[in-house]
């Protein structure tokens, strides 16, 4: 990743135009040719630097639901538990963290009712208590990270 790639990532985290020739417009702002922007963006997607290039939807407005959940996975069962939890398509993120509650994951479902169903299924399959910590209030979200 060189400075031009960084410039592209930073610019595209701020948004992407919805118009007939959006890459040309972004390329002009970055003083690149349209083809160069397209080639570099493809390479960044292919080599895994970028997860995805497209829309981010608002879960609640889509009719869906999200929650943050955690379990206390015993050390000797850690890999088994993470395999069970990651196998759920409803689990979007899963992180090991340094605490007794050592596995933290986000559950995203199409309807609010499915959150509880997913939690019940995880409890049943793991035999662990799932701590459910849905959002009460959002104070700040900024997912932009300077490349």
């Amino acid at each position: 990743m060189d400075d031009i790639d960084k410039k592209i990532i930073n610019a595209l985290q701020d948004g992407f135009p919805i118009c007939d020739a959006p890459y040309r417009r972004v390329a002009m702002q970055l003083e690149l040719t349209e083809q160069e922007l397209i080639n570099r963006l493809k390479a960044l997607l292919d080599n895994g630097t970028l997860t995805r290039f497209g829309p981010l939807y608002n879960a609640e407005q889509m009719g869906g639901a999200l929650t943050l959940a955690a379990v206390k996975a015993p050390k000797e069962r850690f890999d088994e538990i993470s395999d069970i939890i990651n196998a759920f398509p409803e689990v979007a993120h899963n992180y090991a963290r340094n605490h007794e509650l050592n596995m933290w994951f986000v559950i995203a479902t199409e309807t609010p009712e499915q959150i509880q169903k997913t939690i019940n299924a995880i409890e049943q399959q793991t035999g662990l208590t799932v701590y459910n910590m849905p959002k009460n209030q959002e104070y700040f979200v900024n997912l932009k990270l300077e490349a």
Partner: protein
């Protein structure tokens, strides 16, 4: 409810925009919609907030952000809104939420700090605690150790943020 034509469009772009000179025309071809209609519908969906943002989703570890701390506090209910607002004004904070307390987990205010290394994150946290007057509240710092899974949440056919 979301209109059927909008839903069709959202499903087609969820996994990514085409990387070619006329991406919206390309989506139109897939959905059997003229390019102008694709542009009009997406512009409206963005204005309505259903599309939060169009652009790249980065893997923060790939950009060198290896230290990711979730910091939690137990703060009185009557102070939480003010504290949440204050915390969100720090440039290194990526998320700040109120969540319900649990049995054996008495925390209600959550914030995330993404940084290149732990020492930097801890220094930023110290600055935050001082400036917001958080030092008298119970606090825990949970650094991420391993990322097992990171993807945009997929709603049957549609991706969403964890917002």
């Amino acid at each position: 409810m979301i209109e059927a034509r909008d839903r069709q469009l959202l499903e087609h772009i969820q996994l990514g925009l085409p990387v070619c000179s006329k991406p919206y025309a390309e989506i139109g071809r897939l959905c059997d919609m003229p390019e102008t209609e694709v542009i009009e519908r997406l512009t409206r969906l963005k204005q309505q907030g259903l599309i939060k943002r169009m652009g790249v989703i980065v893997k923060h570890r790939q950009l060198g952000y290896r230290a990711n701390a979730m910091v939690v506090w137990n703060v009185p209910d009557n102070l939480i809104k003010q504290l949440g607002g204050h915390i969100g004004r720090f440039p290194f904070v990526t998320l700040c939420y109120q969540r319900p307390k649990q049995p054996e987990w008495p925390y209600n205010l959550y914030c995330m700090i993404h940084g290149k290394d732990r020492a930097t994150v801890l220094k930023q946290l110290e600055q935050l605690v001082d400036a917001c007057g958080l030092s008298s509240f119970d606090q825990e710092i949970l650094f991420s150790k391993r990322c097992f899974k990171q993807r945009g949440a997929v709603y049957k056919n549609t991706a969403v943020t964890h917002g």
